[in-house]
Amino acid sequence: MWYSGLKIKTFRTGGVHPHEYKGLTEECSIINFPVPQKVIIPLSQHIGKTAKALVKKGDMVSEYQLIGQKDGKISANVHSSIPGKVVDVVMACILNYQVLSVVIQLEGEFKTGNLKKDEWEPLKKEEILKRIESAGIVGMGGAGFPTDFKLSPPPDKKIDTLLVNGVECEPYLTSDYRLMMEKTDEIVEGIKIVKKVLGVRTVFLGIELNKKKAIKKFKDRLTSESNIHVVPLKVKYPQGGEKQLIKAILKRQVPSGGLPFDVGVIVSNIATVYAVREAVLFQKPLTERVVTVAGTIVEKCGNYKIRVGTTVSEVIKEVGIHGPIGKVIMGGPMMGINVSTVEAPVMKGTSGILFFSEKEARSIDYSFYKPCIHCSKCLEACPVNLNPSMLSILGEMEKWEDMKGYHLQDCIECGCCSFVCPSRRPIVGWVKAGKALSA
Amino acid sequence: MKIQELSKGLFKENPILVLMLGLCPTLAVSTKAIYGIGMGAAVIFVLTCSNVIISLIKDFIPDKIRIPSYIVVIATFVTIVDYVMKAYTPELHKSLGIFIPLIVVNCIILGRAEAFAAKKNVLDSFFDGIGMGLGFTLALTLIAVIREILGAGTITLKLLGYGWIVEIPHLNPMIVMILPPGAFITIGLILGFSNILKKR
């Protein structure tokens, strides 16, 4: 085969193969989503402290205007995605918890127009980091780690490798894939920028084999680049998890409680790399992203470039839904969070919005779980080699403290255990509760 | 008042079913109804006598050697029972084996001495001894009867040639019931069911 020269890699421990459902949106080119009438922009779309609000009710804002100021080292700037009037600054229910958010009503005109393009080669490392910081870039794979912080690891950690995460292992999602297909050159440029910041020699771009076109495209594009390698990966969930990806490509094991830089690696998502390029070249803040909108009941499935803050109700209006909605999931079906209201907004880390029908939603009902039959399927599926069975039993008995003895904190909440559980036990739910209650 | 001391041992504070004391002999000798009665009689004797003696001498014993003195008193009566049974009911004595001398460490006896006889007067202690002993005998015999019926298909109430052996017709006995597993499972179930009754 054409990729026969490349060694196909994967991680060894655990993992599952859910049905992909990527066919729904795989061939849908990125479309610009219409400008929403109203946006709800949470001031915390990242790990760390909530940004300080810079606007108050009644203020007029323009597009790209800073509305939330980074607060402390681990935090990120937040910008307005549309010009308009601040209707409110309130605690809003975002992904089922309360976050301070700025509500903006569309008003006035887009003045920004075409942004001026800089050359990045002459820029110093510090200047690049400053631009990333002020653009409020965070990890766009879901976790939302502030990128400027991630790209400046402590000096005692020697970084030798950059991994670019093009795995997109969650079913349904194709937003990264479309980005890779349509913005190949831009992504390569972004990789080079990040590479310069980190001062690393080697870069690996991991892509799963269900995206053969993307692998080929990057392989052809990178023939001239000697230090950036495409690594085809066997399809297996959760390969997009940082630790699994490092294990798959480099065979290095991130220690428990550690971060990738403990083994000399920085992992960055495709969408993040793309956003970094835009931030550095155009000084453009992160106010929009590509989102896969899919589901069997969605009329116009596709990949949309949506402004941060656009609510689910606007999305529903645009794509069209037939039949009653059972579940709305922000993110992928394995780790995504389902929301209870149409007021939930798209955020920097939202890679997909999935609409499940009433029937699909009812088919996974964790309220009717059965006792654990100790079949050990979850032990086989766990990519961290935990004992999810014990965690679930302790969780069921509400023995949160005892869960720590079973390495609760090492759980990445990938959901493989619940996915394979014949008793349909909500193991991830108990783990999340355990993490919250045993601390 | 006295009736209370007597009757509480039978049901409310039954040493086996409620207090869960004296389980070793209960399990070991409950293979025939008569063994239950014989063991019960021995325990009633030792318990009553030691209760009475201890309540009589309680004021003369220094606190430090309390427990050893109680043990000496109990062991004396146990030795008496041991030799008496050996002389008059040698068969029964042989069947009960080391569980006669082991009455010394039966928690019921020391337990009652410490918890009751050391605090109350002679008459109360006497009735307490009899009541507790009877309760022990009753529960033990109940378990023995169940095990014997299921495990041997008989009820043996025969000693020194007197009494009867009742045979249950048309029953293929389950030998396992008179073996150790039967003892454990029977008492487990009985304790469970007595818990259910208690909660009613």
Partner: protein
């Protein structure tokens, strides 16, 4: 040699003290809730059982028998065991404080453990000599410990099970003991000859 091995194996497994002789049930039920305390109790019992077997044998052989004082058997044995336990406690306390910390709380409980007196009496009944008595005592202790550890590990697992409320604790423990006893019953055939 084989004879001595058979005594140990027999006391430990074939005629397991707890599961087929019904000796030492109180601590078996009481101390089998947690595995680490079961281990501590087991070690303490092995220790005391072996020593008590030796000492009671000597008392019986060199004191009671020559002076025809057999009727003092029960009373002297129980006093000796009580003293021994006290003594052992003191010695361990002085010489091995760490061991004392792990075994300490279990030692006083052993006096009323009928396995100890039971083993002493059985040694006399079986006409064992000194070495045989010691081995029988040791084997009995090992058997007690094995049963206790099995029970503790099972009960720890059962902590997380939905046992009916009335059967929690002692009742279900006895039923487990019954099934364990069924298993030990099938070892009976091995050294039957």
């Amino acid at each position: 040699m084989e004879h001595y091995l058979i005594i140990i194996v027999s006391a430990a497994f074939i005629n397991n003290f707890v599961l087929s002789r019904f000796l030492g049930l109180c601590p078996f039920i009481g101390v089998s809730k947690r595995l680490d305390s079961a281990l501590g109790m087991g070690m303490a019992v092995i220790f005391v059982l072996t020593f008590a077997s030796v000492i009671t044998y000597m008392i019986h052989r060199f004191l009671l028998l020559p002076y025809h004082l057999e009727f003092l058997k029960t009373i002297s044995f129980i006093l000796v065991i009580a003293t021994l336990v006290q003594f052992v406690e003191m010695v361990i306390h002085k010489t091995a404080p760490t061991l004392y910390e792990s075994l300490g709380i279990y030692l006083p409980l052993i006096t009323t453990n009928c396995a100890v007196l039971g083993a002493a009496l059985l040694n006399i009944n079986e006409n064992y000599n000194l070495l045989e008595s010691a081995l029988n005592g040791f084997g009995a202790g090992v058997g007690f410990t094995v049963a206790l550890i099995l029970m503790a590990s099972i009960r720890e697992k059962l902590e997380l099970a939905r046992v009916p409320r009335s059967f929690k604790g002692a009742p279900i423990t006895f039923i487990i003991a019954g099934i364990l006893s069924l298993i030990f019953l099938c070892f009976k055939g091995i050294i039957a000859e």
